[in-house]
């Protein structure tokens, strides 16, 4: 029973260190450096330390969401549940810590409960996928709607504003120049990388994305790992929802609006493929920085807001094209 599993580990680990592959991994970081240098050359406001702080602080939430979504993408599934899960977690946490709506004052326990709620919603996505065999695109869209529904019910017409000192300080207080939220994001990326690199969950996620049938034929029960991956992703979204609440000092139903596609974009720009089996948390983190630097830089150099959307899209397409360029011969079929 053990030996097939070990084989799989080897298979899963193989694609990483190979010659010729290195350029693929180097693409997005090079693009990041190039874009950064270009903006720094054009705009004197861009290259200040204050702005670098600002970029890192802005990237924090997206980085945590992308951490979660990366595991799902590595499996070859898709996850659109971030807006709903984040909304539910945001409202839940704002009602559990010190706030203007009720007498709760659970502090960090409240944060934990909100993350658990989010993990539960992620788990529902995973269970619907493996038990009901509904494609992940639909299940996660449904779970997003459920999350928004839960959030709207809890919201109940009155904005919950938080007055919890700890949570509010995350967005304001700084350590070594960066806000606590940024350090939380760095911690998430690190933990995500550890899970991806050293745990069976992370390695199987890769293997499922690469060749699920092979894994199943080797006697591995795939289903529990899939559910676990979606649960893990949900937990990351939940934490991101808590972080948004900390930034805005208020629980918003729309806390996660737009983060689903922003995170998928960041992951893909960083080199995590939608087909699964490639990329990883560190790739995605680079993607997050790329997208954030782009957003920030376009404002800093003074591109008109009427042009920004279009210019952003153009650069993202160019960056993805550059990232997959070395593989275009192998990707004969593009769907």
């Amino acid at each position: 029973m053990t030996s097939p599993a070990e084989d799989v580990d080897v298979v899963a680990a193989r694609p990483q260190p190979r010659r010729g592959v290195s350029f693929r991994d180097a693409g997005p970081p090079i693009a990041l450096v190039v874009i950064f240098v270009v903006f720094a050359a054009i705009s004197s406001d861009f290259r200040t330390f204050g702005n670098v702080q600002n970029i890192m602080d802005t990237a924090a939430v997206l980085a945590v969401v992308t951490c979660g979504i990366t595991f799902v993408l590595m499996m070859g599934s898709i996850d659109l549940s971030a807006p709903g899960v984040m909304g539910a977690a945001a409202i839940a946490v704002s009602l559990l810590v010190l706030n203007n709506r009720n007498d709760n004052d659970l502090g960090l326990v409240g944060v934990l409960l909100a993350v658990l709620l989010a993990a539960g919603l992620g788990c529902v996505s995973g269970l619907a996928l493996v038990i009901l065999k509904v494609p992940s695109f639909m299940t996660t869209l449904g779970v997003s709607a459920i999350g928004l529904g839960v959030a709207t019910l809890l919201f109940n017409g009155v904005q919950p504003n938080i007055s919890d000192e700890t949570l509010a300080s995350w967005a304001v207080d700084r350590f070594l120049g960066f806000s606590y939220l940024t350090w939380i994001a760095v911690g998430c990326v690190f933990v995500g990388w550890l899970i991806q690199r050293y745990s069976r969950l992370g390695r199987y996620a890769f293997a499922i994305g690469g060749a699920e049938e092979v894994l199943a034929l080797s006697g591995v029960k795939v289903a529990p790992y899939k559910v676990a991956v979606f649960t893990l992703a949900g937990a990351f979204y939940g934490l991101a929802g808590v972080m948004v609440t900390s930034q805005l000092s208020a629980g918003l139903v729309q806390a996660g609006k737009g983060y689903d596609f922003a995170a998928i974009t960041a992951a893909v720009v960083g080199g995590t493929l939608l087909t699964g089996g490639r990329g990883g948390v560190l790739h995605s983190a680079v993607g997050v920085l790329l997208v954030t630097v782009l957003n920030n830089g376009l404002v800093q150099v003074g591109v008109s807001p009427y042009w920004q959307g279009g210019v952003q899209g153009l650069i993202v397409v160019a960056a993805v094209a550059a990232a997959v360029f070395p593989q275009r011969r192998r990707n004969q079929v593009t769907k």
Partner: protein, 365 residues
Amino acid sequence: MKLKSRPAIALLSLSMAAIALAGCSEEAAGGDDNGSDGGDSAACAPEDVQLVGQVRNESNPYEASWLDGGDAFAESVDLEQQRLTYDADSTKQQEQISQLLAGDTNCLVMNILPNGDSDTLPIVEGAQEAGAYLVTQWNKPADVNVTDYDQWLSHITYNGVDSGKQIGDALAEAIGGSGGIIALQGILDTGAAKDRYAGLEESLAANPDVELLDQQTANFSRAEALEVTKTLLAKHGDDIKGIWTANDDMALGALEALKAAGKEGEVAVVGIDAVPDALTAIESGAMTATVSSDGPWQGGIGLAIGYCVATGELDAADITDDERAWFAEQFLITDENVADFTSPTVDDSEFACDNLFNRSQGAIS
């Protein structure tokens, strides 16, 4: 076969009975109607009027207060308002409307917030065909005339240029008439965003010493406003004396950015909509001004117009063309008058049938 048809027959006879009953009550209603005979279907007994308020979602404090205002009006005439929300989804809005119009529409009164300009016409045509009374607010294509439809009683909106200018002037005053400001626009392709920004431009022309350092869009979103403001603070630093935003959500996002930068209270912030958190911020001095369209009033007035016409207290023919599509009054809120707006109350006299159009600021040109 027998077993199958039995429930069907039961269902059929039940629905026949229901129809018969409904018919009876309608006739009775007709009979009840005192001296003013008229003999046409327009006069509904007050208790037969069905009130519907429809907005995007209740998670938006402004729209929730709109529905609360509708409830308050309905209570004042001993009715209940049906609260509908469509999650800012145009298709869902149209479905809800067609479901409503498929039912009994003789005494149906709808106070609708169309999702966008293009959603208004199908709603109007549906109401016209079904004979339901309709009042719409905010969104209407400019080339569609309310006077072309009998059942579309009125369209109410607000002069965005005016509100944009009002808060622009309040901001200029707050920073002492000179200094740099930044502007956060709404969703760029909406009429509200365009008009409000045009208002800011008018205000800037009138206050030549106020300099617009930068303008960006934050799509009416609190979270986006937070990020854009942080970036602009990094770019312009202490040159920013004031922040003009096209709605309060963005103003609140900008306030969080100021808090994170340790500049809370040093920079004046203005918005539009008068959401509860913005009023709290004005009370505490963190925010300078906002503009209120009075959500509870909006929720009540649409139902009131429809109710008055449906019950025959107001003849639809007596509504002048200028009252068919009009700008309603809006209120600039600063720390001087904020206390009047923190607990919005609905004044029933505003909804009296002879007093419905007293907030008109003129017809929509």
